[in-house]
Symmetry: C2
Subunit: 607 residues, 2 copies
């Protein structure tokens, strides 16, 4: 079994035959950044080969730059070590340096956790000092904390731990000045917390080692509620009665509990040593997580049960995979459709501390946007519809194997990149945007979005190999590939859906700028939040007018920023309190009956 030395730490891991380096690293408990989950599409899991044979394969040749290749870079998900080797691997998730990767900026992560552990030796009582177990504990803790009256569950296990005859070492788990539990022996080095980003599509979890001040690992899973609709509105409609709301909630809880157990299993951690869980998600997801009624979110005036941070003990929250005395909390919301995930993004990207103007855009069924700086922050939610999630598009699909996620021209021929390198089945959001941008660039659709027809159309389509115009039942469409089966195509109607979606987002951004008294050019940084933001081709998005017209260099992916926000709130009470203030500070503009928005929306339909 070949061994791989991971530099700079010098740790040695074993690789089973046929296993990729990424798989071996994950099994060994190392954090590997791989937003695509090891599919070989994101190109993020770079390692530098120091010693040993490693010829890049075609995927690596495509995803790595020539500089990377000549420096010996390889992708951990493609590298299958056959003999001993050593690689340099940058642990981007390590918090040892108090840095956490989010988008392309590195964020300071301060540690002031709410849960701390103190080991103390408790002496036995005597007839001279007939102190109760509580008094002896309080005495032993005197140098550390002035504790509140003990909770009944702590009292119940306290006497079982203490001995009437000899001194005993126990570990006291404190949240502020409250003892939440006591443990036998010295367990101060076992103090963990988990952050969870409940996305509509994907649920991502982050395991934090509070004692060593490190993010250890991440695990993610698809949101099982997708069975009841890809978009939020379908799920809210499904959750129309208490039983069904409970069913959706149980699905979420099962997945969250499963992810936490998986993280603990991987690192051989006792789940009872997990003392805190922080969650972010849109308002609908947060509400379902807590079992709160979501119906008022779907109809005007779109109100939540609460916008506050919600906190409960693990048992009340239904998180059975951690210590029962742990706290589980969701970050606060700004409004019905500007949720805790957006607050997490603000927290992670620190726009409220910026001098320059920043715009956060999170594209989903709703395009949530926040514009601001240290002076002021304004948010809105534009109803983009689910086009970019593949819904309402004739050949639309999610970003799964078979989906075209990118379209470009090489040697006058349309080349599609397909997830999983299988045969193309349809388009996911980023592919759709690329395709529409390409159509516009090649003059196949006009400014108003019409697929052109007649002689000129034929001529232009002939100039680009790999696509052709077609007419079916009086409706135009553009077919992809050399086959004539028309399985992969984009119809006139699809283009209209893209126009509606991109106009909503652009108009929302324009409204925010207007209320702020600024123009698009004043935006110094545009952060694309959410999974979609990681994959979107910025040039294409600018070309179709989805995003404000600024230099592409000033547009970056904020990556897992919502999750990073949850990690920050978990790592430090200061950040948790900051999230509360932020949610209060952000101004919200309701667009649904806003005449200005309607005007901008119509104007933004044009390409």
């Amino acid at each position: 079994m070949p061994k791989v030395i991971l530099e700079p730490d010098g740790e040695v891991i074993k690789v089973s035959p046929g296993e990729t380096l990424m798989e071996a690293m994950i099994n060994a408990g190392k954090a590997v950044e791989a937003p695509c989950g090891g599919l070989g599409t994101c190109g993020k899991c770079k390692v530098r080969v120091i010693h040993g044979e490693a010829v890049p394969d075609e995927v690596e040749l495509r995803l790595l730059s020539s500089d990377d290749l000549s420096a010996g870079m390889r992708l951990a998900c493609r590298l299958r070590p056959k003999q001993n080797m050593s690689v340099h691997y940058e642990d981007t998730l390590s918090l040892a340096t108090h840095k956490l990767f989010a988008g392309d900026s590195r964020i300071d992560l301060a540690f002031r956790p709410s849960v701390s552990k103190v080991a103390v030796v408790i002496g036995p009582p005597s007839l001279e000092k007939q102190w109760s177990a509580t008094e002896r504990l309080r005495y032993a803790l005197a140098g550390h904390a002035e504790v509140k009256p003990l909770r009944i569950d702590v009292l119940r296990c306290l006497n079982g731990l203490l001995d009437q005859r000899s001194p005993q070492e126990i570990t006291v788990v404190l949240r502020g000045d409250s003892v939440i539990t006591v443990e036998r022996g010295n367990s101060v080095d076992a103090n963990y917390a988990v952050a969870v980003d409940i996305g509509t599509t994907t649920i991502a979890s982050y395991l934090l080692d509070v004692y060593r001040q490190r993010l250890i690992d991440t695990a993610s899973s698809s949101n099982p509620q997708a069975t009841y609709g890809a978009d939020l509105i379908s799920r809210i409609e499904y959750a129309s009665d208490d039983l069904k709301l409970q069913a959706l909630k149980d699905m979420l809880l099962n997945t969250v509990n499963g992810l936490i157990s998986e993280l603990a299993r991987r690192h051989n951690i006792e789940t009872t040593n997990i003392y805190e869980v922080a969650l972010v998600g849109n308002t609908c997801m947060s509400h379902i997580f807590w079992g709160l009624d979501v119906r008022a979110l779907a109809t005007a005036p779109y109100t939540a049960v609460t916008s506050d941070e919600v906190c409960a003990d693990a048992v009340s929250a239904g998180i059975g995979s951690i210590n029962p005395a742990a706290d589980v909390f969701t970050l606060p919301n700004v409004a019905g459709f500007v949720g805790a995930d957006t607050v997490g993004v603000i927290l992670a990207t620190g726009i409220e501390e910026a001098d320059e103007l920043k715009l956060i855009v999170d594209i989903g069924t709703n395009g949530e946007m926040v514009l601001g700086n240290r002076e002021r922050m304004i948010a809105c939610s534009a109803a983009a519809g689910p086009a970019f999630e593949g819904a309402h598009i004739s050949r639309g699909m999610r970003a799964v194997p078979g989906a075209i996620d990118g379209v470009r021209i090489e040697n006058e021929r349309v080349v599609c990149s397909v997830i999983g390198e299988t045969e193309a089945v349809g388009f996911c959001g980023s592919g759709l945007i690329d395709a529409v941008a390409l159509f516009r660039r090649c003059g196949l659709i006009d400014e108003s979005g019409y697929i052109i027809s007649g002689e000129e159309a034929l001529e232009r389509s002939r100039a680009v190999k790999g696509i052709r115009l077609a007419e079916e039942d009086g409706a135009s469409s553009i077919l992809f590939g050399d086959s004539a089966d028309g399985r992969v195509k984009i119809t006139q109607r699809d283009i209209r859906e893209v126009q509606l979606a991109k106009a909503a987002i652009r108009a929302g951004a324009i409204l925010l700028l207007k209320y702020f008294g600024c123009e698009e050019k004043d935006i110094s940084l545009l952060l694309l939040a959410g999974a979609f933001g990681n994959y979107i081709n910025k040039s294409s998005a600018l070309e179709i007018g989805l995003l404000p017209a600024i230099d592409a260099k000033r547009i970056i992916s904020a990556g897992n920023a919502a999750g990073v926000g949850a990690v920050k709130a978990l790592a430090s009470l200061d950040d948790r309190y900051r999230a509360r203030r932020l949610a209060q500070k952000v101004e919200y503009i309701e667009l649904s009956l806003n005449a200005d928005f309607q005007r901008e929306f119509v104007a933004s339909m044009l390409f």
Copy 2:
């Protein structure tokens, strides 16, 4: 069916044929003071007949003074109205006047309850004011309270109560600045609390109307744990493993829940409108109530798990008969054998505010004593043993029908009063004390407790009719009654048990005085706490040297003082906080290895 008008309120109640006035009053929800439970022994349920025929029976002739009788006083438990009548009845339990009967002193009861209710009208949201349900609630409450973040269970029921379209009146239940629950409509007048005194023998409960600031009713039941031993030590021995501890706890919880349900049923109160329960009991009972390990209480150095006030929500406490968001708390303890019941007695009798010196004596298996005034309070617990509870006495029994509870001489003949006026079976504590005092007075036992023998003995016993000396298996005893069956007797061994018990209590009192730097004559008031204290014949207790040698007039029964303490802590946070300070302030002296105590104990054995 005869009607009875209860003056001064003028309320009319109906009495079924054969029913006593007390039974009819209790059925009508009136509070009747009857420590004996209607057995016709305590003489407390006095009413004054204004109009109607009412000839006193023999029990009333015995228990009521000639002044009472000539004033028309009768006992509600003996009066069976056969025709319409009117009586004047003093509602001693009424708190309308903020007074509560405890012993022979009237105590001021201040009201500053922890739970309050506020009715508010919550407006619907609009697109202009897209306030969450929480924000609308907080706005409506603005004039009343700045509330903490809402608990998840409150959030879960909040949206179900509120309407998206029209204003809704709801009632918010507040504990300090925490919303504990919300209710439909206006229910501010339904705010109840229950105090419980968990005695080793009897569990007494008190229903408090927090809105009207009145004590409404009381209900009591025997402690079902008695199956596992009349005394505490037997129960601690039984609770040697967790399952058995749980069994004892469940018995307590069943009884407490049953009493609360019974009080609510009587007064047609929704149990969800009971928002607080305060309990007192000795340390063992408090610990069993909370499911805390009691084993350390039974062996040196006799320590508790905690001496603090313990507080938990109703669900954690296992009190399912009230609102699940209610708080349940036990008053703090002073030490292992000076429990929350003693703290309740201190609270009720206010010795910590007294200028003069007061001594509280609670006689049970242990004689808990507190001596003090506003300057200082000292407590101890003397191991009296269960003799006064009828245990270890050849014909000993509890104060139940058939027990001799009093012995006196009338016309040179020994007369025994028997509970339930049935044939005498044995002696309860008060009867035993009376008998031993009588033996001493008649010279049948000498100073050291020996039953005299020889000619003189025969002569003296002949002078008192109704008892005679006997010799069985070489041991002397004194038989009661004219029959020769010797069923009711007191043996030499029994007298030794009484000596051990009385010596422990007297020596404890002497020790307290010594540590305080005082003498017996400095005691201005001696309060006999607990049920036993209600029945004991003070002269007899003084005669046998059980109590410090002070004027009998300065000895009073503190009655239900422990329960009154719990009621006070429930009625006012000031009293609850006072209890916490009191428990800290009282100094505790451990007697078990105290040489001074041993010396005083031996000296106190003599009569």
